[in-house]
Amino acid sequence: MASCWIENSTLLTAIVGTWAPFVTFVLIMLFTRHRPKTSAGLSLASATVSLASALVLLGGHWNLQRPLEYTGRWLVSGDIYIPFGYLLDPVSLLMLTVVAIIGFLVQFYSLGYMAGDPGFSRYFALMSLFLWSMMCLTISPTLFQLYIFWELVGLSSYFLIGFWYEKFSAGQAGKKAFVMTRLGDVAMFLGVLLILLHLGNLNILEIDSPKIVGLMPPEMLTLAALLIFGGIIGKSAQFPLLTWLPDAMQGPSPVSALLHSSTMVAAGVYLFERLFPFFLFSSTATTVGLAIGTISMLLASTMAMVSRDIKQIWAYSTISQLGFMLMGLDAGGLFAGAFHLTTHAAFKALLFLCAGVFIHQYGTNDIYDLAAKGTRRMRVPMLCTIIGAGALAGLPPLSGFFSKEVILAKLAGLPNPIWLVAALLGVFLTAYYAFRPIFIMLFPPSLPAANASNAAPEGTRHRLLYRIMVGPLVILAGATVALGFLQTPLRNFLAGQYTGLTTAGGAHLGWLPYVTSLLATGGVALTWWEFGRPGARQTGFVDGIPVIARFFAERWYLDRLYRAILDHAVDRGISAVLAQNDTRVIDGSIDGISRGTVLAGRLAALINAGMIQYRLLMIFAATVLLSLYFFF
């Protein structure tokens, strides 16, 4: 660390903001495990500190000219230098702020949501751990640091998904998430090493500078970019590693809101933003990225169309929206990706938190059940859900509309129109699946008696908890509506990033917004026809074709495929063969040697067992043999 870190207020702010959650984590784990209130207080306080520092940093560097970088020695070994430090530039500041805000809101919300849980302290400790690692990831100046915290957010995700570890499926889901992201991480690690090999260090600014093209042969650069993209695929749950995210919904809803929609899974997209110029150096990599993004987007959309679990629907939509972001980025639109990331963070967190309120109240995830139990009477959450879904669907004038529009504009600028067409199809499908649960919940076929369950829960304690939970909803809903109008300031803010870079400017097509909103409205309308209108059968058009519905519901059989590979190829295949090899071949040969030795021992004993004269003969024979040795 720079020696004057105390005096440098920016750095001090950053350090305090990022490390406060870690201190909280340690304090809670060591001392306040059995004092839930203290733990929550500590955690919330540190989240507040982080939020404040993030806002201060953002405000203080709104007009940042060039990136600020502070590094200090962490580890030096031979010619490997691994620093720890802070890199403050528009991209990281924006992400930092997003993380801090949503982190704060979700923690506040959790006060209500997690109240009374036996693992209350542990929950807040883990949330702090996550916040710490996510913030450190965001401000990483080197890929090493980024990779380290990348792993750590994965770890906190593992623990938070499996938070209710007594539920076997929760633990399984956590494991699945960790291992699948690990798969991507390994690829990323290899990519990082490849860069290290050629560049000699992993400073992000250096990787992003054009000199890398001179240092790395093009095929190596492409390979490195693709490998790192592997990490993004894992973390952002893109095709083909997308199946862990729906399962991750086993965790508490606030966790889904924070980790598995708005921030952690967006880390993949963030990494792309970080290495944006680097990726653009390799056209192959961007094309592959575009394809992966598109496939993920469409695939997830189809899955969302048939799911009955509200959190899973939003999870699929997350995958799909992350795909959108990657498409935008791969098309060369840094702002497109970053802007959609920001708005998505807001509205997706909103959606999950709303879903959390429903689930907390009614104890079920199934949208039909929820509808039957009367979610429509919970006015605020319902309204917020509609706002969030509207943003998700890209209905004007909500923020989602603007951010998607930017991406579409970038895609339209590409020579190949197929990406735009796919994206427009995605817009339609998004609108369809986003409003499907809404209409189902709004217009249940039959409602329970009005008084049976009041909209707002009864009892003062319940009411308090409910209020605590609703507070963040309102804020997020406000943000969802407002963010769309902040497009220009944000664009200006991000314009400072990667100034030297010239990318193909997106075509500014006048007709695009209209087409988009038309498609979105069309999607909503179709949903209304199928689910919303009075007397609707509440089955989607996909449900009409059972084969396809089943296909979608089974996640295109991807999960089964992986399971089969793991079970049959790895577990019962390679692993079993190797285990057999261990016991049969290696141990077998060693035991064989021992047995052989014993056998030889018995033979040797046999030689010594004959009668006297036989022994005399042996002596004589051996002597003759030895003397023969002399003569020949």
Partner: protein, 493 residues
């Protein structure tokens, strides 16, 4: 007789503490079990304190061998009692101190033949300490055998599953290793023509010709490699881990396997650098196979200790890979990994020890939902498992990082394979955690108690160490570099 002591003989006092402890235990009548435990704890604590002191007192700016003690032993053969500590041995000494002390505490509740157990345990550790500090080939070999022999009784008497088979197998296997080491050692002694077993003198460039180095290296590598669990000579280790009592498993996986790796480093690589360069391809291959193989076989295991055993094979493969890279980073990583893996496995075995004492089973299938009944014990295990998976923030991550970077540079393909094994190791570690600690609580384990504070101390120490070096890896790497960089600069190019 000419003796040479650089300072107060700290290193010898470690050995003295062990031997005094041994003597004290022998003198106490067998029925005073509590007294024996306290005596053991005190003496092992003393060794821990001394090693810790040495680790801190070592002057990194000066580097080289410090705390040197030299006493002629058998002058006609040039054998000296020659101890010294450098950046390679200090981490291992500290590790031994840690595992020794925590091992004694882990066995606090053991009731059968307490006196004999601790006496043998002290002998075992004396050998280990001696090996790490000895700079004389002859003594190094002696300590090697001293540390192996008590294993037989320790496993055969106090062990559990297939204990006699395991004990016999382990002893013969490791002795077979020494059967390769001793001839090579004497060979080097004779070939040098210096009439000395002094490693410092023998490692001067030009002492041995290239062909001699190649010849001796392979014997030394295989001999020590057996103890280091090099594939395909690893099968003794999982079986041994499983059968041994907990503290012995701790020492065994935590320290004893390091002896093998340390021997490869201190003897084979130091004395035969050209042999090292010649055989490094083979080393890397065996190591890479070991890493993947261990992880994949570990996937199939259903006994907690077997899982740990195979993970050790995999992790020791990482050490081997680091040693094979012929780079500073590789050596740093390998030595760091020795330390980190030692602490990590000790923690794993210590936790499993507690769990086994409570539930009387090690079968993953029978266990389940333990997080509910014993959250503290579980979290220790989980911390260690995470370290084993190479999660950042814990010491193992750094070690593996350094090794992988070096390996990727030098042997891209083998490096990639080894890195890919990270996924498998994550899979099998998490699988065990999932089946053992998560899931619904089982009726029969509902009444078990969690780790009381006192018994938790050893695990706490180990976990803190893991975290400390995970957050501040420089503490360790700077230490190792004081040895690795001069060693590399001294190599003939």
């Amino acid at each position: 007789m000419h003796m040479e002591f650089a300072s107060f003989p700290y290193l010898s006092s470690i050995l003295a503490a062990c031997l005094l402890g041994f003597g004290a235990i022998l003198l106490i009548p067998a029925r005073h079990t509590m007294l024996i435990r306290y005596v053991s704890a005190v003496f092992s604590g003393i060794t821990l304190i001394i090693t810790l002191y040495l680790f801190c007192a070592y002057d990194k700016r000066v580097g080289g061998l410090q705390f040197v003690e030299k006493v002629p032993w058998i002058p006609p053969l040039g054998i000296q009692y020659f101890n010294g500590a450098d950046g390679f041995s200090l981490p291992n000494l500290l590790l031994t101190g840690l595992v020794f002390f925590t091992g004694v505490l882990t066995m606090w509740r053991m009731e059968t033949r307490v006196k004999e157990f601790f006496a043998l345990y002290f002998v075992l550790v004396t050998g280990v300490f001696g090996l790490f500090m000895s700079m004389d080939l002859f003594f190094l070999f002696v300590w090697y055998d001293v540390s192996l022999i008590p294993m037989y009784l320790l496993i055969a008497v106090w062990g559990t599953t297939r204990k006699e088979y395991a004990a016999m197998k382990l002893t013969l296997f490791l002795l077979a290793g020494s059967a390769l080491i001793l001839p090579a050692t004497i060979y080097l002694f004779v070939q040098s023509g210096l009439n000395t077993f002094d490693i410092v003198a023998l490692m001067q460039p030009g002492t041995f010709g290239e062909s001699q180095q190649k010849f001796a290296f392979i014997f030394l590598y295989l001999g020590f490699g057996i103890l280091a669990g090099v594939w395909p000579f690893h099968t003794w280790s999982p079986i041994g881990h499983v059968a041994a009592p907990h503290a012995v498993s701790m020492v065994h996986a935590g320290v004893l396997m390091k002896i093998g790796a340390f021997g490869i480093l201190r003897v084979a690589i130091f004395l035969c650098p050209q042999g090292w360069q010649h055989w490094s391809q083979l080393m890397a291959l065996l190591a890479a196979i070991g890493i993947i193989y261990g992880a994949l076989v570990g996937l199939r295991q259903t006994d907690l200790k077997y899982v740990i055993g195979y993970s050790s094979v995999s992790h020791m493969g990482i050490v081997g890979l680091g040693l094979s890279t012929l780079t500073v980073d590789g050596l740093n990583g390998a030595v760091f990994q020795m330390f980190a893996h030692g602490v990590m496995t000790a923690l794993l075995f210590s936790s499993v020890g507690y769990i086994y004492d409570q539930t009387h089973t090690k079968s993953v299938a029978e266990l389940g939902g333990l997080s509910r009944t014993m959250p503290v014990a579980s979290s220790y295990f989980i911390v260690a498992a995470l370290a084993g998976m190479g999660v950042p923030g814990l010491a193992n991550f750094w070690a593996e990082l350094l090794v992988f970077i070096a390996a990727f540079k030098v042997y891209p393909l083998r490096g990639v394979l080894a890195i890919a094994a990270l996924v498998v190791s994550a899979l099998f570690m998490l699988r065990v955690v999932q089946r053992t600690f998560y899931g619904p609580e089982k009726e029969k384990y509902a009444r078990l108690s969690d780790v009381p504070f006192g018994l938790g101390i050893p695990r706490m120490i180990l976990a803190v160490v893991l975290l400390l070096f995970g957050l501040f890896p420089s503490l360790m790497v700077d230490m190792i570099e004081t040895a690795s960089i001069p060693f590399f600069n001294g190599l003939p190019r």
